[in-house]
Symmetry: C2
Subunit: 140 residues, 2 copies
């Protein structure tokens, strides 16, 4: 059963969002589901940033309680659990693109794809559409 | 003396940014400097979210070490310390606007100004210019 959704302590829009994912690990899980094609617990556990299994389990529950991700059990020969972003979660994409553009500008060793930050600036809507289409394609 | 700037553990652009301000308090300090016209320690301490003085002091040092904010001592009759965003900090604005737009959509009780989220969607560049001009005006 997902955790009870906690009530935010203020309705400032910045605070509302930070109350849900104002934690590096939560947003890295969203990143992996959004951009890295991951969907299983094992894949999410295997990130470069080395999330621990108890933190990952807690953040997945929390993101599910807040309606950012959905958890489905796929009944195949070997039943497996699949995590995907809900529409509410997928709509965090413009925010993540802004984070990428900012970091690409200020991190001399950025791993952001070349030209990506410029596309965020100059061709943002098309980029969001394209990445959203890729996301839906993977999920079906 | 500002803290030594720590090295990020990966150059994933999402991780790079979260390593700096992937913490609710840091981003709430940026919010207060960016949108709420605050500049002194006392003003920053007096937020609705009730940041504690030791957390505030630590986050200010951290944000200064990362070049997000600048600390100036104003030599008037009563010397006072003023915190302002650097250009690197001010460039977090598009990301904060996306956070506001997302929260305004998903928080039924949002405190975001009416119509603000729509402006982020439809008139984003002009909105960033306008808010940036307001920010510079306050700082001079």
């Amino acid at each position: 059963m997902p955790k009870r959704r906690p009530q935010p302590s203020s309705h400032c829009p910045i605070h509302f969002a930070l109350d849900i994912f104002g934690d590096a690990w939560s947003l890295l899980v969203v990143r992996d589901l959004m951009f890295k094609g991951k969907s299983s617990y094992g894949e999410l556990l295997a990130s470069d940033e080395r999330i621990s299994t108890n933190i990952l389990a807690e953040r997945l529950e929390r993101l599910e309680a807040h309606g950012i991700i959905r958890k489905d059990v796929i009944h195949t020969a070997a039943a497996r659990t699949r995590y995907t972003l809900t529409p509410k979660g997928a709509e965090l994409m413009p925010m993540l693109l802004e984070i990428i553009a900012w970091s690409a500008r200020y991190d001399a060793k950025t791993a952001a794809p070349r030209g990506f930050a410029r596309r965020v600036r100059t061709d943002r809507d098309a980029l969001v559409r394209e990445l959203t289409a890729q996301l839906h394609e993977r999920e079906t």
